[in-house]
């Protein structure tokens, strides 16, 4: 296996005496597209800045192709192989052309090379018509495109982005994400982007690093992170609201029965009777039906709809069946099944859809 482009070894950052980042080991391979996801204060920005050698007083090491990245003299040479895009475009008070040219000019490139680089970057982002405009006269979407063009003009091997789409309206975000994905994949750029939008992360990234309070909570592909969260935080952050605690009452044939407050759930796996567990069921794995469904699912619960929350194309349906189950249902299904608050409904899911997050203790 080839050496990673970026490696982190025992990286620790403290702010005002409090730990802001503590990452023992993390690496990123060439061409990888990775999302750093987590709530505000999770350490995503600090991690990105550390990778660029822009955090003073950080303990541990960041290696770029084996070379140590650290703040201070000589750091510019390594930084010139990477680019960083912030949430705010932070454009200079100059023309769009000058802004995109800035990275190239800082590298001392000749005027002709600068022009070629700027034109190429503007074509990539579809902003050639903005070249003479003042940066301050741009819309939010245009400004972020210029910001990305400025970052891509220097042809970085690694592109770091800190919530690059969060300040954009939905249509601008959609088109920009699509364009950026095309550019990154075509050029084989190693891309890391911080976001707190799991949809963005799942859509763009082949790998997701979930962060919480400065540490990596889970690192894996989107499916693993979504279906098999490492802990309650990851489950909850990735959209799973059915998180229950219970006790294993029986276990045979690879299926265990977990007693929870208000019922019992069958889950794939084995554990001794009396073991306390916490488990979750992803909302996409819970099926709602009007009557008794023709399904082999081991878990069938009759319950009452407590709440229906619209969320884009889907609705989030809360079903009280002794305990609370949360399912995603399409708008069309809501219509055809007449799902509304107070309606009696059947919720079902397979034993394999139950993911045991942690074994708490054993009696």
């Amino acid at each position: 296996m080839s050496r990673p482009v970026l490696e982190i070894r025992k990286l620790a950052v403290t702010r005002n005496g409090m730990p802001a980042l503590d990452v023992p080991d993390l690496s990123f391979a060439g061409g990888e597209i990775c999302a750093l996801i987590g709530p505000n204060g999770a350490g995503k920005t600090t991690l990105l800045l550390s990778l660029m050698g822009l955090v003073k007083g950080a303990a541990g090491e960041v290696l770029y192709r084996g070379e140590r990245v650290e703040p201070g003299r000589g750091a510019a040479a390594l930084r010139r192989r990477m680019s960083l895009v912030f949430q705010e475009p932070l454009l200079f008070s100059a023309s769009v052309y000058s802004n995109i040219a800035s990275g190239l000019r800082l590298r001392g490139m000749a005027r002709g090379q600068v022009r070629e680089g700027v034109e190429r970057a503007m074509d990539l982002l579809g902003i050639a018509h903005l070249a003479r405009r003042r940066a301050q006269a741009l819309s939010g979407g245009e400004a972020q495109r210029v910001n990305l063009a400025r970052a891509l003009a220097v042809e970085p091997e690694v592109l770091l982005m800190d919530e690059p789409f969060s300040s954009l309206d939905a249509p601008s975000r959609e088109t920009l994400i699509a364009d950026l994905e095309r550019i990154i994949r075509r050029r084989g750029i190693t891309a890391l982007f911080a976001t707190h939008d799991r949809g963005e992360a799942i859509r763009l990234a082949a790998r997701i690093v979930v962060m919480n309070r400065g540490v990596v909570a889970q690192d894996g592909d989107p499916n693993t992170i979504t279906q098999y969260p490492a802990d309650e935080f990851v489950a909850s952050f990735m959209g799973t609201e059915t998180i229950l605690a219970g006790t294993v009452t029986a276990s045979s044939g690879g299926v265990m029965t977990i007693s929870v407050d208000g019922g019992a759930v069958e889950a794939a796996g084995t554990a001794d009777a009396g073991t306390a567990v916490t488990f979750c069921v992803h909302p996409e794995n819970i099926v709602l039906s009007d009557g008794v469904p023709g399904t082999s699912a081991r878990n069938l619960f009759r319950g009452r709809v407590e709440r229906v929350v619209p969320m884009g194309l889907f609705r989030k349906v809360y079903v009280r069946c002794g305990f609370m189950l949360v399912a995603y249902v399409t708008g069309q299904s809501i219509e055809s099944m007449g799902i509304r608050e107070g309606k009696e409904i059947t919720a079902s899911f397979k034993a394999t859809a139950v993911h045991v997050i942690k074994v708490v203790d054993k009696k």
Partner: protein, 231 residues
């Protein structure tokens, strides 16, 4: 009213006829205040930028000192500069007292804190992440500082204007360290005071009008540069 009208007419007469004494006084004013502003700009922009971009113990105290310095009374500056360059003072051997050089020194002491303070405020008003963004673009530290100064160029020009305005119009320090010697250290402000004392109000008003025109012209040029670049 007649007095003011006479003064304005006299001012135009002096300007139009190119009165040699008034011309020399005006040029000396411009030379002394221009030199002081130039020196203060070098000191103030560098110091203001350095304080804005670095963190060190006592920084807050230093910023308070700079802000206090922005309102230094010219007579106090004149007093201390005079003491320093007095024949028996620490710098007495340089023989600066009652020379244009002494006036430049005094005006620099007045203008430097103004330019430092405005520069400091201008640099602090730049987005905090801009510095990181510039470094992330591959800038060396020197390139980063230059780009930040370029980004703050409009308020920096305001700093220069404020500095020049502060020294071209001051009198206390100039008269104390320069002595208002005819043909040598007499500038527009000291000449205006002298003519007023003599009761030559028309000439005093004329000198005042010339001072205003001079200050306006310099600030107009700087404003044109500022607004032109800001577009």
């Amino acid at each position: 009213m007649d007095l003011i009208l006479d003064g304005i007419i006299e001012a135009f007469r002096l300007i139009v006829t190119g009165d040699p004494e008034v011309r020399d006084i005006t040029l000396l004013s411009l030379r002394i205040s221009g030199s002081a502003t130039l020196i203060s700009t070098c000191i103030g922009v560098s110091a203001g930028t350095a304080v804005a971009l670095t963190r060190f113990p006592g920084r807050r105290f230093l910023i308070s000192v700079i802000n206090t310095g922005m309102g230094l009374p010219p007579v106090v500056v004149g007093l201390f500069v005079t003491i320093f360059i007095w024949r028996s003072g620490p710098l007495g051997s340089l023989g600066l007292l009652y020379t244009p050089a002494a006036m430049v020194v005094a005006q620099t002491v007045i203008a430097a804190p103004i330019i430092t303070g405005v520069t400091l405020a201008a640099m602090q008003r730049l987005p905090g992440k801009l510095r990181l963004q510039i470094l992330a673009l591959g800038a060396t530290r020197r390139q980063m500082v230059w780009l930040l100064m370029k980004e703050a160029r409009l308020p920096l020009l305001t700093a220069v204007m404020a500095g020049f305005g502060g020294v071209i119009s001051e009198i206390g320090a100039s008269i104390m360290v320069g002595g208002n010697i005819r043909g040598y250290t007499r500038v527009l402000t000291t000449a205006t005071v002298m003519e007023t004392g003599r009761g030559n109000f028309a000439v005093a008003i004329a000198l005042g009008v010339i001072l205003l025109i001079l200050a306006f012209t310099v600030n107009y040029i700087l404003t044109a540069i500022q607004q032109g670049r800001g577009r």
